[in-house]
């Protein structure tokens, strides 16, 4: 999966906007949105919000977690805990990234938010890398991936599954050989050539 595909999935998240236009109900595949009234908050998918924002038809209300204080708390927890902590949204990085590029004027302290987000991301990436090498080295067969977001899972994707595949192949060959020598030892009658 590509990064842009993950971003595409994140664009389905709902977000509040304050429109500056009047419009009836919008019938979209994901459901009906609206009616819109100027000045009254409404919930729409993120992609629509960004589109409207780019045409200056609305103001985006950032999600409650997208502020410096909450993110600092999350960062604090993330650096203290050994395991991954729960993120406010399954797509926190994508949503933040999209909003910060398209509607940075609607978000107070956008610059600082960016810095904190990057810190959170980096510390989680460091954890991911450490646990990946641990998993591969110890020859583990499974891992718990609680609280990992889709973007993070996707970032280890070609490497981890393919390495696991390689290890499995090397293991498979030896277990196959063991089976064969076992069956040869027992009274297994092989078809004669």
């Amino acid at each position: 999966m590509d990064t842009c595909e993950v971003e595409f999935l994140a664009e389905r998240e709902l977000i509040s906007i304050t429109p500056n236009f009047d419009l009836g109900v919008l019938h979209l595949i994901s459901g009906d949105f609206g009616p819109f009234k100027a000045g009254l908050p409404a919930e729409v998918p993120l992609w629509l919000a960004i589109n409207l924002r780019q045409r200056r038809k609305c103001r985006i209300m950032p999600p409650i977690w997208l502020n410096v204080k909450t993110l600092e708390e999350i960062k604090e927890r993330e650096t203290q805990e050994k395991l991954f902590t729960k993120m406010p949204s399954e797509h926190f990085m994508e949503v933040a990234q999209l909003l910060l590029t398209a509607a940075s004027e609607d978000i107070p302290q956008a610059g600082e938010i960016k810095v904190v987000l990057k810190d959170i991301w980096d510390s989680r990436q460091a954890k991911t890398r450490a646990s990946c090498s641990l998993l591969l080295q110890d020859g583990g067969k499974h891992a718990r991936v609680d609280n990992l977001t889709l973007m993070e899972i996707n970032s280890v994707r070609p490497l981890l599954p393919h390495s696991m595949d390689m290890i499995r192949r090397l293991q498979m060959e030896s277990s196959m050989e063991a089976q064969i020598s076992q069956t040869q030892g027992s009274s297994f009658a092989s078809p004669s050539q």
Binding site: Q97, S155, L159, M166, S181
Partner: protein, 204 residues
């Protein structure tokens, strides 16, 4: 995306062709008539019992199966090479020993006596596991002289993994830095989507 599409020597996989092309020393167990010219050193007409020669893996498979020859470890997988790998897997230049070290190793193991084969398989697995840490760190490291030197130690399999991961890593970094605009993203995903689609019939 696929690292290795086959789980057996595959006629169409280039990796498999290369991996099964490496030579193993063999000892002829039974006289093979009229094939004396396979051993370039001699001028006899037949391949006589006891003659030692190097055969490519793909040929050794079939001859060993018919008990015509007995295979031995090639130098890359010999006892001493294995001891080195057991002691310090990370610094061995696998590329120099055998480009597809693991792939060929698994094939070599299938030709050996069970005890030696199991030892070789264990060594292969341990080596890969220990070196996977390096593969991960190399894929995310900034390019430098040291990184390039370390890269050259990787076997082909490891290198494929490393490069795949590096591409992914660069993509995520690129996305994070916000350099990809939504229009670019759309173009990238459309072109990827088209790649996956079956080619359209032009006859319509």
């Amino acid at each position: 995306m696929k690292l290795n599409p086959s789980y057996e020597p595959n006629y169409f996989s280039l990796e498999d062709i290369c991996a099964t092309n490496s030579a193993v020393p063999c000892r002829v167990e039974m006289m093979i008539p009229n094939l004396g010219e396979m051993d370039r050193g001699s001028h006899s007409e037949h391949l006589e019992t006891g003659r030692r020669l190097e055969l490519p893996l793909w040929m050794a498979f079939n001859l060993v199966k018919r008990h015509l020859v007995k295979a031995d470890c090639s130098k890359a997988y010999s006892q001493s090479a294995r001891e080195i790998l057991k002691a310090e897997p990370a610094v061995v230049d696998l590329m120099k020993q055998e480009p597809f070290y693991y792939e060929s190793g698994v094939h070599v193991a299938s030709l050996l006596e069970p005890e030696e084969a199991n030892d070789l398989r264990k060594v292969l697995q341990n080596t890969f596991q220990t070196r996977s840490k390096d593969v991960i760190s190399l894929s995310q490291a900034e390019l430098s002289k040291e990184v390039i030197v370390r890269e050259q130690l990787l076997s082909k399999e490891e290198k494929t993994l490393m490069l795949e991961s590096r591409v992914k890593w660069a993509e995520v970094e690129h996305w994070l830095s916000g350099k990809l605009t939504s229009r670019e993203l759309a173009a990238v995903s459309v072109s990827n989507y088209l790649k996956r689609k079956r080619p359209r019939d032009d006859a319509e």
